[in-house]
Amino acid sequence: MRLSKTELILLGVAVLLAAGGFIAPQWLVFLLTMALAKAMVVQGVVMQMRAGLVTFGQGLFFCVGGYAVGMSGHFLDITDLAVLLLIGVGAAVLLAMLLGLLMTRYREIFFAMLSLAFSMILYGVLVKSSALGSTDGFNVKAWTLFGWTPASGQAPLALFVIIVACSALLAVLLHRYSRSSAGMMCEAIRENEVRVEYLGQSPRWVLYMNYVAAAAVSALGGGFMALSAGHIDPEMAYWITSGEFVFIALLGGTAHVAAPFIAAILFAVVRTYAIELVPHSWQMILGFTLLAIIVFLPKGLWSLFTGQARRAKA
């Protein structure tokens, strides 16, 4: 596998980040792990934004990934991290393959609303499932890896190294995807779906693949979240959680594969301090930041929508 310059930089940063984990304080390692897990979900949101679709329900796959990991440990006594994550991703892929048949028929506001509806359905089911702890959720069992059980103090750092490695691999793959025919076709669909159809390509097929792939990536984030937090609850599928992912996606923009990772880390760090300093103003800061991005940085972040506006005028 030949690596491009961007990909080498991504891998280099990942090695530095992983090494930094050995000297960083434990709270920071934990914070970065959570941020990277969320960043994976955001990657799923960004993948769809590149195709012109805004999802207000990516929490669905975040939650499915998390619950699949938690339930496999709880009910099937599986503790191997790799197997757990695979189950999480597999569950999300199956669900996305089913929902995708329907979702790919919708665009714009209908896509946003339908994605929101599906994630709220899962939320509604989980809240009423007493076997799964209802609103409280349940604790996730400690993980092992290929027969190795980390000592109690080691687990967070080991998980951090693993998630950094996975993030790096994911970043390289997504970077390639964004430049592949399929990735470029997503942008083409955002720009002009009718033309794509008249080039002999099926927009629905491209969007379907993209939807399933985005679900897989987001579920991986959900699985990591379950393992690092050690707890899962229905909040993961709540629409406010999905809104947060959209926020981070907009913060970073869709221009570069590294953007969601950087934005998610920035988001986590700022939130940690903001909640301590001004406990009841965190959401207000988020809201004003979001408005500022939309008003002052429309071109960088909103190539997505300016493209549509221009087409509407043509």
Partner: protein, 299 residues
């Protein structure tokens, strides 16, 4: 038979409440094409305003009971007027003409700001204003004890819905509004002051939201986050009926209200599932909603 009757009564009451909450949302979307995520916050603002003022009024025995009801409605309308004007004049008017999905995100930002603003004004402890609810007492309907306040909600909701419908269908202003809904650019070319219409409609929608909150306040405890909880519910109602349609919102509210009541009585674990399930089902079968119009596409 008894429980079926109970489902009907509960469902109708819940549907009236849903309609009150969703009416402002659908009016704003219909005219302005803004799916307003902050509508839940308007509802919460109305509830907080009413609960704090009405609670103070009754606890200190300021005046007669009937004036308490007037205070409840009046303060909510004033709050809606102020909030609606500030938001439309201060923020939204600079955003018109943008993509619909972007407008959702803008109003989402607004929701975040309003949630914390409410915490600054009212704190995080719950407010109660149960007096208007308790004062009305209960009546027996075919052996079923029903709160008179809830029955009044059904009436208010019906009057409001009919009023809105008549306004849109029968008055000159309503006709102008429908012209704006049908084709904004043509309406503008024919001399309709669309900007003023937008201000009017947004403020009206906001007032409907705060009114719904104020009417709900006596029946619940008013807590932070209440607006966030109801907004998706309101979306469900509006999406089912067809975004922007008054009669659609009424039918959507009835559909959601009755199915939720049925779920609560027969299969409580499916309560929330049913609401969003109906929404997803309608979107899947008829994405423009039951009363929505299909927009033609051109190349």
């Amino acid at each position: 038979m008894m429980s079926l009757f109970a489902v009907l009564i509960d469902g109708t009451i819940y549907a009236s409440w849903l309609f009150l909450v969703a009416a402002g949302l659908t009016v704003i979307y219909g005219v302005m094409r803004i799916l307003n995520m902050a509508h839940g916050s308007f509802y919460a603002i109305g509830a907080y305003t009413a609960a704090s003022l009405v609670g103070w009024y009754f606890n200190n025995g300021i005046g007669p009971v009937w004036a308490g009801y007037l205070l409840m409605l009046g303060c909510a309308l004033v709050a809606g007027l102020i909030v609606g004007l500030i938001i439309e004049r201060g923020l939204l008017r600079f955003m018109y003409g943008r993509d619909e999905v972007l407008m959702v995100i803008i109003t989402y930002a607004l929701l975040l700001v309003l949630e914390d603003t409410m915490k600054m004004i009212w704190g995080v402890n719950p407010y109660f204003a149960y007096q208007p609810y308790a004062e009305m007492g209960r009546s027996a309907l075919a052996g079923l004890k029903v709160s008179n306040y809830d029955l009044m909600l059904v009436g208010v909701s019906a009057v409001l819905g009919l009023g809105l419908w008549l306004w849109l269908e029968r008055t000159h202003q309503g006709k102008v509004l429908r012209a704006v809904i049908h084709d904004r650019e043509v309406a503008m070319a024919m001399g309709v002051n669309v900007r003023r219409m937008f201000t009017l409609v947004f403020v009206l929608g906001t007032m409907l939201g705060t009114l719904a909150g104020a009417l709900t306040a006596p029946a619940i405890s008013v807590v932070p986050g209440m607006g966030v909880e109801i907004i998706v519910l309101a979306f469900a109602v509006v999406v089912i009926g067809g975004m922007g349609s008054i009669e659609g919102a009424a039918v959507g509210a009835l559909l959601v209200g009755l199915s939720r009541a049925a779920a609560v009585h027969y299969a409580p674990e499916f309560e929330l599932f049913v609401i969003y399930g109906v929404m997803a089902l309608v979107l899947a079968v008829r994405p423009q909603g039951l009363f929505g119009r299909v927009l033609a596409r051109k190349i």
